[in-house]
């Protein structure tokens, strides 16, 4: 305690407590008003019931919020963020204490007195120094090393805000150090120097004890600190650093239903009766969508992992958040009235059709976002709007119409859905009529029924099931397209029709489980269908058959070749099935496996399944499959095994177009096991 404590020194004749009061009230009022405007927009947004499973949500907040669980996926930046976050948590008590010191020189937070208080002072001093160092490292990292993911190639970024915030935080630390450093000198308390490194460091630059400038440094450091603190607080909700406030709530209210798509409109009985469906205007976003926009820190991890962005398509997931937030702040401003909207259409002008159709719904962005922002739901909602307006890319119209007419995108004759069964030698595949029963219902889907290449997987699985003495049957002509991509392309009405047809067919037969080798069909039936049926992916059933000793494998097919496994998006990321296919592969005697740099939850999409096979993108500079094949070539893989028929098609094409024909084989897990049976 010095004679020159801020609370005892009037500034320009105004007693310090009065000045403190004025600053506190002004800053808090302004902050409260900005927050009121932000919350007001959330309240005006559409509903989304997220107030259930609160225990689970609290765990999310602990794990992804306070625990910063996803930060280390980018190790360097992640560690820096964890240190900053920890610093913020610890120093928040210091900030409150300092505000109090403007009113009374003796102010202490409850419990932070005596030895505990001194202990905290020591801790906080180390933390101050650490945060300052982290800020400097962050500034240098951005300014000198310029990580590519902070770039905004199409413009519209807010990268400069990062410098403002890092500057303000640094200023907070430096003023704290000046305040404490000068106190050391004024009190002649250099004895504590070893315990207070930040204060000691600052004091080293200060004049000797007794110098008349020391009180000015002490009191001046204090007031600058207070002004910077409230400046920072008020800067948060108007910048990309709003996440400091919204990230924990955003994580708490995160999506709990993986692998599925939100209903067209929450709280509406018959969405078909809506005036407009999907998102065409900003006002059609839900409050959680808007909270996502508020929370995006523009870290660029989503776009860095987005396959569409990688190959040059118009999409960059974070720009959806940033553009939507800019739109929200402009059209729902803190002060004054919003500008005239003119003819600007949110969906179409702010977010363009090219961006909206570029997404494969692979989920890499959502898997990466440290604060669990969702993108697929928003994109699908915008597609729903475009579908409702009739604005669907020409390349996707024909397959969609084919499904409507014939139940499959291939235009195949409905009556020939089970024609592949005739090619199987010595195996009779049962077509289950209504009322029939089997242990397993093999859901073949359109691709397995009509695409000649994919029929090979269908037949391979039939042979494996036969060999494993599995009692199975198919729906035959009563099967309809699973509808996974129909839903994700925004044609909800058609999705409902196909789902209903399949559900009726399921209900009319008795079975223990459904088995599908296409992860898209697996996902739709498992996560999208309104009525739940037990379903396993082929890799899971094969793993089970191997575990029970019903299948025996030889290593001949992959002998002396390096094998890598490509995780399909709808098996891995959307359904968490990473280990079963690897277990199956490892049962092949002598198999040599190596993982690609991007595997498991960071797998790189092959360019999409189902109807996306028909989609033609004009912006992309190369095919996603080609990028993926190069990743396999990098590790010297000679065999790429996948567990999705569309990955197979895309990667097989890419092997040819990258000049790897003859050097690299792409094979489905089911086919590989079929060929390895002994």
């Amino acid at each position: 305690m010095t004679m020159f404590e801020p609370a005892s020194v009037p500034i320009a004749g105004i007693p310090a407590p009065v000045l403190s009061f004025i600053i506190l009230v002004t800053a808090v009022c302004f902050f409260a008003y900005v927050m009121y405007r932000r919350i007001d927009l959330l309240r005006k947004a559409l509903p989304d019931p997220r107030f259930y499973e609160l225990g689970k949500r609290a765990l999310l907040a602990v794990k992804y919020g306070f625990g910063q669980w996803r930060q280390p996926r980018y190790l360097g930046a992640g560690i820096l963020h964890i240190l900053l976050f920890a610093g913020f948590m610890i120093l928040s008590l210091r900030s409150l204490t300092l505000i109090g010191r403007g009113f009374s020189p003796e102010f202490h937070l409850p419990l932070l007195t005596g030895a505990v208080g001194f202990g905290y002072d020591v801790l906080k001093d180390y933390v101050v120094l650490m945060v300052l160092i982290v800020c400097v490292v962050c500034i240098v990292r951005r300014a000198v090393f310029k990580p590519a993911r902070y770039d905004h190639p199409g413009g519209g970024g807010h990268g400069s805000e990062a410098y403002i915030i890092l500057g303000l935080v640094s200023a907070l630390m430096v003023t704290d150090m000046i305040f404490d450093g000068s106190a050391l000198k004024l009190n002649g308390a250099e004895g504590h120097a070893g315990l207070l490194p930040a204060a000691t460091l600052a004091s080293a630059f200060m004049p000797e004890s007794g110098s008349p400038s020391l009180p000015y440094l002490h009191v001046g450091g204090y007031w600058v600190h207070i002004l910077v603190f409230f400046g920072l607080l008020n800067y948060l909700p108007v910048s990309k650093h709003f996440h400091v406030i919204t990230a924990i709530p955003n994580v708490f209210f995160a999506n709990l239903d993986k692998g599925t798509i939100k209903p067209v409109r929450h709280g509406v009985k018959d969405w078909m009766e809506l005036e407009e469906c999907g998102i065409g205007r900003f006002e059609q976003f839900t409050w959680k969508h808007v909270l996502d926009f508020y929370s995006c820190a523009d870290c660029g991890r989503c776009s860095d992992n987005c396959p569409a962005a990688t190959v040059g398509r118009a999409l960059s997931p974070r720009m959806i958040s940033i553009k939507a937030r800019d739109y929200a702040y402009t059209h729902h401003p803190v002060l004054w009235s919003p500008p005239n909207n003119g003819d600007v259409q949110f969906t179409g002008d702010v977010i363009t059709e090219d961006e909206i159709w570029a997404c494969t719904t692979c989920g890499a962005c959502e898997e990466e976002c440290p604060i669990l922002i969702q993108y697929i739901d928003k994109i699908v909602d915008m597609r729903r709007y475009l579908v409702d307006q009739g604005a669907v890319p020409q390349s996707l119209q024909k397959p969609l119409q084919q499904i409507k007419k014939k139940g499959n995108a291939y235009g195949g004759n409905k009556a020939k859905r089970a024609a592949w069964t005739k090619d199987l030698e010595g195996i009779e595949v049962r077509q289950l009529a209504e009322g029939d029963a089997a242990d397993y219902l093999f859901f073949v889907d359109s691709c397995g029924s009509f695409d000649p290449r994919i029929q090979e997987i269908t037949k391979a699985l039939a042979r494996i099931l036969h060999r494993g003495s599995v009692d199975f049957g198919i729906l035959g002509n009563d099967e309809t397209d699973s509808g996974n991509e129909i839903r994700r392309l925004g044609e909800e009405g058609l999705f409902e029709q196909v789902a209903e047809k399949n559900i009726e067919a399921f209900r009319a037969r008795k079975f223990r489980e459904i088995v599908a080798f296409d992860p898209h069909a697996f996902n739709a039936i498992r996560n999208d269908y309104p009525e739940k049926f037990p379903i396993v992916h082929a890799s899971q059933l094969i793993a089970k058959l191997l575990r029970s000793g019903k299948l025996h494998l030889s290593g001949e097919h992959v002998k002396n070749r390096l094998v890598t496994y490509h995780d399909p998006c709808y098996l891995g990321r959307h359904n968490g099935i990473y280990e079963d296919p690897r277990f199956v592969l490892n049962q092949i005697p002598g198999i040599q496996m190596r993982e690609m740099s991007r595997s498991y939850s960071r797998s790189f999409c092959c360019s999409g399944g189902g109807l996306l096979l028909w989609y033609e993108n004009e912006q992309e500079k190369e095919r996603m499959g080609e990028v993926r094949v190069r990743m396999a070539a990098e590790i010297g893989a000679q065999v790429i095994v996948t567990a999705c028929p569309f990955c197979l098609i895309n990667l097989e094409d890419a092997v040819k177009t990258t000049g790897n024909e003859g050097k690299m084989e792409v094979i489905d897990l089911v086919e590989l096991i079929d060929r390895s049976l002994t």
């Binding site: 579908v387 009739g390 604005a391 020409q394 195949g412 009405g493």
Partner: protein
């Protein structure tokens, strides 16, 4: 501007095993799915786009049995204002001439400025409807039309010719235009869009309503009689082109040039 669009309901033969019926004069159509003639899809889109620009009314009409209501309803979902099915058992067996006569009796009974239809139909590829309608209605007509615009009672457009040439034309209205494919990007029709027009009534008009005599339609009123329908003889097997990609591509380009695939 009031536009009438003539739509054809055609069997989808793309993935079907075609079988010739007992009389040997037609294919068996019972097991085939039917769909809107693809060329007509562009005609209805063009009509709706013109209406959105100029106002007026779009009427769609098809000479087909009841099943074709699905096609007409889809046209309503695409933006047509009203739809009529022209059918009577007596219409069975009508050739292009008889169908044109049926359509003309419908068209003449109402106000109109423009008739649009596809240049060809996917099934018999007669390509005669536009011309016949023009002649019977006594108005100018053109085929393979694109880039349509309307100003001061005149309509201007391009005709696609061989070798990538366009012929720019102007006509007085009323007129009959048969459109080319690709002149616009037809909108998508969702399940919900069809649901929205589910309650619109699509009247069926027969001989009486159209003021036609039995002798003018069906086989009697037709001028073309099919003698026999046969499957084309099976061609030679496919040729596999080997070699390096550059060589294979050069060889392929040569074959395409030779056989008239590219100009």
């Amino acid at each position: 501007m009031d536009i009438i669009v003539c739509m054809k309901w055609v069997p989808d033969t793309s993935e079907a095993d075609l079988v010739i019926d007992k009389e040997g004069k037609d294919i068996k159509k019972d097991d085939l799915d039917h769909d809107m003639n693809d060329w007509d899809r562009f005609a209805i889109e063009e009509a709706v786009q013109l209406k959105e620009k100029l106002g007026g009314k779009v009427t769609v009409v098809g000479v087909a049995p009841e099943d074709a209501e699905e096609m007409l309803r889809e046209c309503l979902a695409r933006g047509a204002d009203e739809a009529f099915l022209l059918w009577d058992d007596a219409f069975e067996g009508s050739d292009g001439f008889a169908v044109a006569r049926i359509l003309v009796s419908f068209i003449k009974a109402r106000p109109w400025d423009l008739v649009l239809t596809g240049t060809l139909a996917d099934d018999d590829c007669g390509g005669q409807m536009g011309g016949m309608l023009g002649a019977m209605l006594g108005v100018p007509s053109a085929t393979l039309v694109s880039a349509i615009s309307v100003e001061d009672g005149k309509i201007t457009f391009n005709r696609e010719l061989e070798g990538g040439l366009y012929e720019h034309m102007e006509m007085d209205l009323p007129a009959v235009l048969s459109v080319a494919t690709g002149l616009n990007e037809p909108r998508f029709v969702s399940i919900r869009a069809v649901r929205k027009v589910a309650s619109v009534e699509i009247p069926t008009l027969g001989l009486g309503e159209l003021g036609l005599d039995e002798s003018l339609v069906g086989v009697q009123g037709s001028r073309v009689q099919i003698e026999q329908l046969t499957m084309p003889p099976e061609g030679e097997g496919a040729e596999m082109i080997g070699g390096k990609p550059e060589e294979a591509a050069a060889k392929l380009a040569e074959i395409l040039k030779e056989k008239g695939g590219i100009g």
